[in-house]
């Protein structure tokens, strides 16, 4: 059977459907992210409805949506969500404010690299949560402990990727800028920073991802509010539906951060300059 035979009487129903999908997702990219979840949610609903597990332990999607409505209405979910997001944003800002300059230093100076690189690798290996026991003794259950964990988690991917970025800027670009009259500080601003930017964004992406997970874990252990606390508190009350709601919220929030914040930055920098290929 040839393609011509198919298209003899216009596009087939399948082709029309595919065409509509491509057009609609081009107009609303969020659709392309949602459609793959249709079978996942359907399967979830099916398993829940079939009664394989007791309903209390395995609620269906509709119960989670109802729980979402209830927690939105009584204001708990918005308040906790805000707490978590603000903590993450503050921790990320501090982590980047320390991480980018440190990465530039280690990336540019051979001496700093020899001295600091092994130390960075050592402390990177001590994962965020591994700090919790000692932090709890030092700072107790509270904001200081949580902030430390997030900053710590965000810091290393940012530093290590910034170093990588700085070192990936070709020597010739430094030389070109110098012989066009740029001073050393201007080379830093005009050559090193933009050259390292795609890697810095990668570091930020990883840092946010790890930081988000670390935050939820920290909130479960030391928190008095936040999404992690919501989930852990729900466990105490035996409310599986709220735990599931917390998990869904985490996933959605990450999608929002990724597609509304990180992806646009990447499109405007490395991809446009041809420094990274898709």
């Amino acid at each position: 059977m040839t393609r011509d035979a198919d298209s003899g009487d216009g596009p087939s129903r399948w082709q029309r459907l595919r065409g509509a999908y491509v057009r609609w997702t081009a107009r609303w990219p969020v659709l392309a992210a949602l459609v793959p979840f249709v079978p996942v949610v359907a399967l979830w609903a099916l398993v829940a409805e079939a009664g394989v597990f007791p309903r209390v332990f395995f609620p269906g999607p509709m119960e989670v949506v109802r729980s979402f409505g209830r927690l939105m209405y009584n204001g708990m979910l918005p308040a906790y969500l805000e707490d978590s997001v603000v903590r993450l944003a503050a921790g990320t800002a501090v982590g980047m404010a320390i991480g980018i300059p440190l990465g530039l230093l280690v990336g540019l100076s051979d001496r700093a690299h020899r001295l600091l690189w092994p130390i960075l690798l050592f402390f990177q290996a001590i994962g965020d949560i591994a700090w919790l026991p000692i932090l709890l003794i030092w700072f107790g259950f509270g904001l200081t402990t949580m902030t430390f964990v997030i900053v710590y988690t965000v810091l290393f991917p940012v530093v290590l990727n910034t170093v990588l970025g700085v070192r990936s800027v070709p020597l010739e670009l430094h030389r070109a800028a110098r012989s066009l009259g740029a001073s050393a500080p201007r080379v830093l601003w005009e050559v090193v920073l933009p050259g390292a930017l795609p890697n810095i964004v990668t570091g930020l992406r990883n840092g946010l991802g790890y930081g988000w997970r670390a935050l939820i874990a920290a909130e479960m252990i030391v928190g008095t509010s936040g999404i992690g606390f919501l989930m852990f508190d729900a466990r105490r009350a035996g409310s599986v539906v709220e735990i599931m709601l917390g998990m869904v919220v985490l996933g959605i929030l990450w999608y929002v951060v990724d597609s509304w914040v990180l992806a646009p930055i990447e499109r405007a920098t490395g991809q446009r300059w041809g420094l990274v290929t898709r």
């Binding site: 030389r175 070109a176 800028a177 110098r178 012989s179 066009l180 009259g181 446009r272 041809g274 420094l275």
Partner: protein, 252 residues
């Protein structure tokens, strides 16, 4: 444009693995008059790129003196423009902003430096590419931008390090012809490093042959300008000069 003078230039490296000194450049003395075009050829490892990197100030010299217009220089500076084999364009800047980079470093306001950049882009027939990013251009186009970017900063001397070695043969001939045209128009002082004997003779007023870190031969090229491949490829004088330089390079 100013003269360039090198006297008793030397470069030795310390090799930390063998623990001994390695001599890259033994002793080079060379004077290029203001507005002259000199090619430097030599076999691999003769020290021609090391010499250029020292003149550009990218590498410290172990001995000797480099003078531009009678002033001693050390370290990179805008008085010595450089064109690189790898083009070395800034990928995050448009063609226009690449060319305007030198004037920007000199503190020239935006409108004025864009005017300068557009003038120089027009010189190389690149006006249409002003708003493109380097990765959107072919290799030949990128190197045109590289040459123009160096010229737009109005350096005293122009140092070119095998600039056409990584473009295809057809484009290379076009670029060589364009360079001779631009040189005649602007008369910059040019030091052109290459391993291609025909290229060296085609472009220059003088070809210097390097060997083992020292000057081995110096051949004047009294061919008339403007130079075009269509004519010179059959030209007896061009062939004789190329053969003479080739013999020197082979003997080097």
């Amino acid at each position: 444009m100013k003269s360039l003078s090198i006297s008793n230039l030397a470069k030795t490296y310390f090799d930390p693995f063998t623990g001994s000194q390695v001599t890259a450049i033994h002793d080079i003395s060379l004077t290029i008059d203001a507005g002259d075009f000199v090619s430097v050829v030599g076999p691999s490892g003769c020290g021609k790129t090391t010499m250029l990197n020292m003149i550009a100030g990218f590498l410290p010299a172990s001995g000797g003196r480099i003078q531009v217009d009678g002033r001693s220089v050390s370290g990179p500076g805008p008085d010595r423009g450089v064109v690189f084999q790898s083009f070395a364009l800034f990928p995050w800047r448009t063609v226009l902003d690449n060319v305007a980079f030198g004037p920007k470093m000199r503190g020239i306001p935006k409108a004025k430096r864009h005017e300068i950049a557009r003038e120089y882009l027009a010189l190389a027939g690149l006006s249409h590419a002003a708003d493109r990013y380097p990765n959107e251009l072919s290799g030949g186009m990128q190197q045109r931008v590289g040459v123009v970017r160096a010229l737009a900063n109005e350096p005293d001397v122009l140092l070119m390090d095998e600039p056409f070695a990584s473009v295809d043969a057809q484009t290379r001939m076009t670029l060589q012809e364009e360079l001779t045209r631009i040189w005649q128009d602007r008369r910059p002082t040019v030091l052109f490093i290459t391993h291609d004997v025909a290229e060296a003779v085609f472009l220059a007023n003088r070809v210097v042959v390097l060997s083992k870190g020292t000057v081995f031969g110096d051949v004047a090229v009294p061919l008339e300008r403007p130079r075009a491949w269509s004519r010179l490829i059959e030209d007896g004088d061009f062939k004789a000069l190329s053969a003479q330089v080739l013999q020197l390079v082979r003997a080097a």
